[in-house]
Structure formats: structure tokens, C-alpha cells
Symmetry: C2
Amino acid sequence: MKYIPEHEAKEILENYGIKSSKTVFCVSEDEAVRAARQIGFPVVMKVASRKIVHKSDAGGVILGIDSEEAVREAFRKLMSIDGAEGVTVQETLSGIEFIVGGGENEHFGSYVMFGLGGIFAEVLRDVSYRLAPLSRKDAEEMIREIRGYRVLEGYRGFRADVDSIAELLVNVSRLVEDEEILELDLNPVFASESGCYVADARMVVGKRGDFSYSLEDIGFLFNPESVAVIGASRHVGKPGYNILWNMKQHGFRGKIYPVNPNAKEILGFKCYPSVLDIPDNVDVAIIGVPARIVPRIMRECAEKGIKGVVIVSSGFSEESEEGRELEREVLEIARSAGIRIFGPNTTGVLNTDNGFITTFALLPVVRAGRIGVIAQTGLFLGVMMEMVVSNHPSIGFSKVIGMGNKADVEDYEVLNYLLSDEKTDVVGMYIEGLRNGRAFFDVARNADKPVVVFKSGRTEYGKKAALSHTASMTGDDDIFNAAVKQANMVRVYSFDELFNVSKALSLQPLPKGKNVAVVHYTGSGCVQAADTVYLNNLNLAKLGEKTVRKIRRVTPEWHQVNNPVDIWPMVEYHGSHNAYNTVIEALMTDQNVDSLIVAIFASGFGGLGENYRPDFKWIKSYGKPVYFVIEGRRDIVFELKNEYEINGIPVYPNAITAVEVLGKVTQYALRRSSLQ
Amino acid sequence: MKYIPEHEAKEILENYGIKSSKTVFCVSEDEAVRAARQIGFPVVMKVASRKIVHKSDAGGVILGIDSEEAVREAFRKLMSIDGAEGVTVQETLSGIEFIVGGGENEHFGSYVMFGLGGIFAEVLRDVSYRLAPLSRKDAEEMIREIRGYRVLEGYRGFRADVDSIAELLVNVSRLVEDEEILELDLNPVFASESGCYVADARMVVGKRGDFSYSLEDIGFLFNPESVAVIGASRHVGKPGYNILWNMKQHGFRGKIYPVNPNAKEILGFKCYPSVLDIPDNVDVAIIGVPARIVPRIMRECAEKGIKGVVIVSSGFSEESEEGRELEREVLEIARSAGIRIFGPNTTGVLNTDNGFITTFALLPVVRAGRIGVIAQTGLFLGVMMEMVVSNHPSIGFSKVIGMGNKADVEDYEVLNYLLSDEKTDVVGMYIEGLRNGRAFFDVARNADKPVVVFKSGRTEYGKKAALSHTASMTGDDDIFNAAVKQANMVRVYSFDELFNVSKALSLQPLPKGKNVAVVHYTGSGCVQAADTVYLNNLNLAKLGEKTVRKIRRVTPEWHQVNNPVDIWPMVEYHGSHNAYNTVIEALMTDQNVDSLIVAIFASGFGGLGENYRPDFKWIKSYGKPVYFVIEGRRDIVFELKNEYEINGIPVYPNAITAVEVLGKVTQYALRRSSLQ
């Protein structure tokens, strides 16, 4: 790791087309005076040293030097600082101050930071990030993203050349990658209408991380035609029994070979003493024996020529140093035999297409659908899916993968597989940490399917020692968030939101614009929806004249037709079926309406008459996204919601949630089309 | 409305102890030169005029004037501006720039605004608000509330005297109230270590709103001993039938007199042709006849000497101009006869203590409890409570009031009643708009019970023309939010949150500090809880040594004991009952733990063994707040949740929600004790 002094750093910047204040390195008073005269007063003078990183703190920066005498005095003062190797004499810049940073994140590699100068970056943390290399579009987005952006567009007579800032950011991103930059502060940079000039630069170079990776086809791990269950058990409730039970329940369409030296038959499947005794090819083995035996089993699998295993056993690196050692051994055997591993310490995999399932937690049958899930929690196919299936039996999944310890197969490989899987339309991910975040980013960035990400563990900021402002103020989550934006993933903040957004994306078309129409059966629902539309960067569609005329047909004289449509009086006067159908038809055929949210009340008691059920085919025929809100009595809501969703209409518990989901989906859709 | 020119405004400021830059009003060049000499160069010169409000925009402000010649030139230039009445010569100030604003909100009256100068206030909208008059504490809070606060504490060598800013804000709040201020900008003000000086002032005075109000005892509206139901009906499902049915269901403990000229008896109650025929006193009448008949009925009620009515009929001001006229007529009759009205256009009132209920929507029986609800939606005791009761039958209410059109009784009166009602511990409110927000604020500010507020309609900013920055950038919701903070109400953003926070406050004691312990059965739950703790301004309690030792007793060797406590391995090795009891006891007796969140999994299938049920009395005996999270299978979760809550332990659907609720409750508790 090497610190590059300012004047040398500025020369490196020059090579990348990044302009700095005129800066002359001097070792004598006379040199300094000549430099100052040539540059023009007033000048800035700074101490130059390979040892002094924080020049200001050392009293090594003097501004506003406006005479030869002052230059000499400054020279003497600066040279008296411990470690001084010389001074630099520099041009005084003016304009709008900003900061550009760069660095190396341990999981994602090179990144670039941007913010307005001083207080904005340091006090308000009003900065934006992107991973290097930046496209021009990335650079423009990160400039527009900061809260203080308006300052650049012109404030109190100053105005910045935003184009030249974008160019600077792109150049910095090349520099960060090509010059092995570990830390970089360009702080401040001055932007004026005539361009950008760096006033001070702090640069640290050194060895950067290795984020190389390869993408193999791991599809065979999901689609075995024959499976060995090693550690199969006759005892109901034991993991080795439950796995077989789950496979049977889910109707696995391949051959199943339980391995248990002490049993003849389990759940109707013939048992084998060892995997080597199976008189057939085995595509994938599910290993559920105690950790200490797993290396031996792995060797047998290697001998048998098995290319994929799912290790559901725990007792590895998650538990102890001894377990870590076992995990290393297992991995070594796998590497040399060309075996790929899911796990260990995981419930593993579910493929609803062929009924392949490896979890040892008894699971109700998971509905087949278009959502693929990757989760960094070993128990995902246990408690989580039990919860999801019982609360949302109408949500359909293509594949579900609990990653476990990720000794071998990592998230980005599974993501890559699901992105090419023809049964999957949307990928939902739960992530706590990523080993090779760069690989994940690369794969996600090339996705043509939506990737919805719930990342936790987001508040632990790196406490590492850093030489630059940039590195010291940058948390891992800032970088993760940059990757999310840059790859146009959809970030969510809870499991509920993960499933809410994923089901919208999997069931409905994308909106073509931001204009939403809302229908609600209460005034307060209308007001809440309108608030949420505004707060989620959507617009309330201005209804066309024809639309209003159509809605008027089912509206009592005294009631106003607005968006949101307060449909209660229409329902009272014309019945819910007639009112909802008329209003929905009018809105769906209105060119100003890009998407629709409709709320109904499901009552079994004293409510709004019959519960509304649209003709689902009809409502989908318009090709515009429509989400329903169903409120009311618990059991009736549950039944109706399932009916709607099985017929392709996502349902949410209230208008606020529905609009929030639509906000995320719309942002995804519009960025996607702007990136294409 | 009158605009006060700067130099006069500064004199008014002086009377309130608010110091300004030395400012001399001059009408000749010589005067200006004398003033500049006396003040000391460099000076600032500005045009002075009653007609020029935006001096900068008119080119009427010149900075950095440093010679007599320049003073003369500036004088000539400024006097040539159209409308100039003179110039002011002013001292040049330095320090940290900030802005203080003041104004008059149409619902809440006088307020004060504070923000850092220029970009911070105008671009970032980094400003805070409080209603006038300000206490010293209010002023200190509003200073600390802005994101840029750190700047005042010292940044790049500048440092402000925060005490003197607080004093200035208190003085401004007196001024705003006493001088009939409609709009005020002190912008900029300069703060240095030696105090605050106003550099420029813009002041508009005029007639302010009238927010006077009186607080009568309206308890009799909730506690009638005899009730007339006018418009009673024999037809099941009709409003006039449903009201009677609901009263019967809820076991109303007073006398019921249905009024219907065509019926002898309904639901076992003898009917009367008119209210005047009832041979008894009538405390409250519920009026459910068509709007046009209501004035006649009101006259009969007046004649009968009835002092309270609930008008459930619609067809009033919410519908038409004609209805508005009717509402006015009804109110007039009420005023002259001393009758108080709930409604019209409302489902009215429920009092679980005596079974008094006025809604015409058939309602399941609402559980009695300690939460009082005031909702600005006529249908609250219809769809909303049907939904709440079916989804959360374990939540108990004292009184529920749907306000309807608020022709007479307003929110603040009902709030005042509930705050003194001995059956109510927490008040939950749903508000869209308030007529007399100041009265509401006054009542809420004096509350010694928590008031939880869900306000919608928060994104409609006033588009009124304004002379000051302050007024033009201040939305109604900013002022509402100031009132919430100043009165230490708890603001929530959905009905779910309203009930989640209210039930925590009604069932559990307040935490004494910010230190939370979390117990979860999954690692991912622990991580998510930790994130949420951090993001909601709470701390993860540092566990005492003794606590760790106790928990170790049920923890396998290889598993670490941290906070959050990942309890899964303990449950596996020691059973859920033993593991949870041991951990909870250890945490409850730890002095470092102020509050506790415990998550359990409720499975009916393949989960974590028996569902944990604590001894509820034991767990409450520690006197610390404890919230549970129950996840798992839908029906089992529902049953367990109800059981827990009926026994006084609030239950949430996931750790994120539980921690968010605790964050709001803790903030309330700590501000409450700091205000006492």
C-alpha cells in the first residue's frame, strides 16, 4: 500500500483527462516565488510529503497568498513541518465545491463516490456511489441522485457544468480500475460553467482484491433423474425420513434410492447399504449423515461418479473450528472429483417443476409458479416456506434454494441459473452477505428478468482504518445499494415486501408509465392511496373526459368523479358488480392510465353486499397491470385473495401496501426501458 | 396585511431582544457616507421601500462596499430603483448563516421555523418547525432536529453559540404572537461564538385567525341511561334495525326507546310514534331518518329536553349545497337548545363499558379494553371495526368514535374527554384534517396518556401566494408534524401501525431506556432485528456477565451467546419451554435490559416442537415491556396471538414490526420523562 503525494497524484489524474489546479512542486523559496508569479496571485501553498496524508491537520495548507513576501513566509513555515519534502504552489480555484472519491470494497471491488463539497458530504452524508467502471449513464444518475443536486443546476449565481462532472466521474472510474487504487479523494473539486478542476488529491495504491469467477451450468443440480438419499431413515420425523416423505408429497418425477445399511425399504423405496450398491446412475446425492462421516460419503460419491450433492447435515464451519476443517476436506474431495455442492447446513433445494426437494423439514406442498427464490438461510425450506405456504398458498414458485454455508455453489451461480431458467420469471433473494459481490453484480446487471433483493445486516459499517474521507465514510451497505441501483434490481426491506413485489412482477405486465388510477370504497382509503402515490414517485392519472363520462353513468348526481375514484356511492346505487365493472372498464381503456389499483371490501356480516369478483380473463385482457386490495373479514379475505391470485391478480392487504409495491415495480419498469 | 420595511422590522426585533446588524436608514449620499464611516467598512447597502419585498431580486442589495466613493455610487444606484424610499447602510456580518421564519397556519396559528442558511433550507428543506409560543426546550429540540446540526457545533473553524440561537427562537416566538405576524423571514441570521445577529428581515403583519375554543364535558354523550332511536326499523338490515340489534348484541345497560310511528315493537323494545311520546327522560337520541326530516326531529328533541344527539343520517354537507344548508339549520337548532351533536354522516359512537353503540353497520361484539379511538371517517364503526375485530379479536377498546361531518363536536373535545376517561389508557386517532388544530394541540399537549396519531392527506401542500420564503416552503403537514412532536404524540403511518403501537402502549409498561434485548429462533431474524434496532434509534443491550452465564446453561458449547440471542440451538438441545424460560428470566433480571422482544415459531407441521407459552403472570411480574413475535402457520399463529394478547402480551407478525413499534414507544417514553 503506497500513498502518492498530491503533485504526483495530479499528474496521474492528467493522464486520465482529469484537470487540476495548476500545481508546481518546489524545493526552494525562489522556485516558489517564480511558480507563484507564473500561476498568478493569489495562490495556495501546501506542504508536500509522502508521509503527511492529512495536510490540513498538520497546518500544511495556506490559502490566499497574495504577494511574493507572503510566498516566502509560507514556504518557510511549510518546510518547517516535520517530514516536509517540499511545497506545492497552486492556483486558487473558485466555483461550486464537490468531492469525488474512489476505493476498493472487499466484496464488490472498485467504486466511485460523488457528493457536494464540505458539509454536504461530511455532515449530511449526501453522497452517491456506483461500482467502477461507470457508464456515462451511471455517472449522470449518481450526480442527479444527491439531495443537493439543485445546487449544481444553479444556485445564487453559481452554475456547474454537469456534463463535465459526468465526464470526470467516468474518467475517475477508469483511473480507479487501471491504477490499482485502494483509496482516492479528489476533495475539493471546483465546478464552474467552464469545467471541473481538482484542487486537492489524496491517492493510495496497492494490491486489489481478486473477483474472478466462472459461470458453469449448474442446472443438473435442480433436474436430477435419479437421486440417492444418503442417511435415509425409517423413523417418522427424522431428517432422513422427512426428505423421502417430502419428495413423495411433491411427486418427484425421477428415481429415488435411499441409502441405509440397516433398512430394506422406506416409504416404499428399496434401500441400499451404500451409494456404491445402487445399480443405476445417480445424478444427485442428498447427504444427511453426521458431519464427521460426510468426507467418507463424499469419497463414495466420487467413486460412483456422482456430479452433484446437497449436504443437509450441519456441524460444519457454522459450528466450530473442527467443523470448518471438515468442510475444507469435503470441498477438496469435491473439487478433485468435479462434484458441485449445495450446502452444507442447508435445507437445500426445491424444484416445483419435477418435484425434486431436499429439505428435512416436513413441508406442505409448495405451489408451482414463476418466482424463483434464493435465500441465505439454511432453514429457508423449513420455517420460512411453511409460513409462506400457509399464509399465501396462492403464491407460486419455480425453484427455492436455501444456500446454507455456501462452501461451493454461491449465490451468483444460482442467480445465473434462474435467470436462464425458462420456468422462472422473477428472482427473489434474501442476502446477509456475499463473498464475491462483484460476480453477483455482474450476473444481476445482465439480467433481463427482475431481481428483487432483501438484504439484511445492513447497519454494520466497516470500522477499518482508512486514509481517505471516502473510505472512512463508506459502509458496505452503501456499496451494496449502488450495485442494486446500477443493475436495476428491486430492493425491498422485509420478507413481506419480497413476496409482495415478486408476486406483482410474476403475475402482471409491467406498467408503461407512472400514471396510476386508484379505486377505493372509502374516502379515507382514497386519501391514503393519494398520499402514497405522491410519496412513491408515481402520479395520479388525470382521467380523460370519456372516462369520466363512463363513470358518471354509475355515479349519483351529487358525487364527484375524481382519481382516486371513491366508489362507495356507486356501489350503493348500482351494486358492487355493476359499479366496479363500469369503473374498471373506463379506467383500463383510458390512455392516461398506466396502472390500476382497485380496493374491495370483503364482508360476511354487514358490509357492502356481494363480494366483487371480476371476470379475471376480461380484466387481464387490457394488458395493463392491475393490483387489488381486499380488506374485511379475515377468512373471507383469505379465500378471496387466494382465488384472485390463482387467477393472476395480485392482492394486497391495504392501499398503502399496494401503491408501495406499484411504486417499486414502476421504477423498475421505467429504468429498464430507459436502459434498453 | 402590511409589509414592514427592513429597517423598521429590525427596530421591532430590537424590542424583543433580537439583535441585528447595525442598520441606518438614509435618504442622502452624505448621510450614507456618515453612516458607513460610523459602522466601519466594509458595509452592506440595500434599497429601502415599503413596495420592494424581494430586494435581492430587484438588484437592491450590494455587499462588500469598502470606500466612501463606493458608498456614493451604491446610493445612486439603489435610489434609481423604482419605488426606492431611501437606502440602509449596514454592518457586514460573518459567522454561520441560518434562517429563522415565522408565520400563521390556517389551522394551527403561529409557528416558528429554523434552518441553516441558503442551500440547507432552500434546496434541502432541512428545516424544523414548532408552534408558538416556544418553550426553551422546544427551541433546543428544533435546533437539534435539523440534519445539519453538526455544523452549528463546529465545522471548519466556525462555531455557533447554540444557546443564543435558542434564545433568539424563543424571542421570535413571542414576537410572532404579540405583533400579529403573518409572515416573517430573518434570513440570513449570522451565528458566531459571540451571539446571533440578523442580517435581513422581512415582516408582514395583519389580522390573524381566531382559535378560541371551550372545553365542555361531553361525557354524557357516551354514558346515556336512556336512548331514543329515531328512525327505528322492523326490517332486518335497515339502519334503524341494525342500530337496535347492535345495542342488544353489545348489551347496552340503559333503556332503549325506538321511535317509529308505524311499529309497536322492534326486537322486543316497545316503539313510540315520536320522541315526545316517550314517558321518560331521554339522555341521547340516535337520529337515523332522511336528512330533510332531521331539522323537524331536532326541534322535537329540543322540546323533549334532550341534550345529546348522534345523527347517523347522511345527505348533509358531504353531499350537496342543499345538504350543507340542512346541516346549518340543524346546528342552529342545536345551539339554541343546548344540544350537542355527533355527526351527521357518521356511524357514531361505541362505549364498551355500558354497551352504548350507535352504528347502523352490523358489527361483531367489540372487546372491552383500554384503547380509545377517534376517527375522522364516518364509516369507522362499520368496515374498519369489522375488519379490526375479525383480524384482531384480542385488541380491546374503551370507546370508539367515528366523527363524521363534525358539524358540532370536534376531535379536540372528544380527545379531551378520552384523556380524562378512566377506562382509557391510550388514545388512537385517525385524522384527515382539523378545523381548529390549535385546540387539538393544546389538549394533546396537556395529555398524560399517550396519543397515537395516523394523519393522512399529508401531501397536499398549500399553494397560497406568500411574500416570505418561510410561508412558501411550509406545508400543512410540516406544521402538523411540529404539533405532534411538541405535544409528544406518537405519529404512525397506517392503520396497522396505529393498532400495533396502541396495543403495546395499552398492555405493557413503558421502557425506562433504549436498551433492547432480542430473542429469535433464526439467525436471519436476529440480523433483521439488529438492523431495525439500529435504524429506530434503539440500542442492543450489552448483556451482563451473570446473564450470559445463565443463558450458557441452556446453550451448546459451540454456540455463542450474543444479543440478539439466537435461540434455535438452545431449543434443539433443551426444548423450547426450558430454553425460552431460562433466556427470558436471564434477560428480564439484567439491569442493562430495558425492554425485550421474543420471537417464537408456531408450527403445526414440522417445526420446532411444542409451541412456547410463557406463564403470563410471571413474565409480566418483571415490570419491563416485553413484546412477542409469533411466526408460522396461519391459524396457529392467530390462535396463539389472541391467547397472548388476552393475557396482556402484545404480539407482532415479525421482528421488524415489533422493533419498529418498540422504537416509537421508547421515543415516547423517554421524551415523556424528559418533559416531566
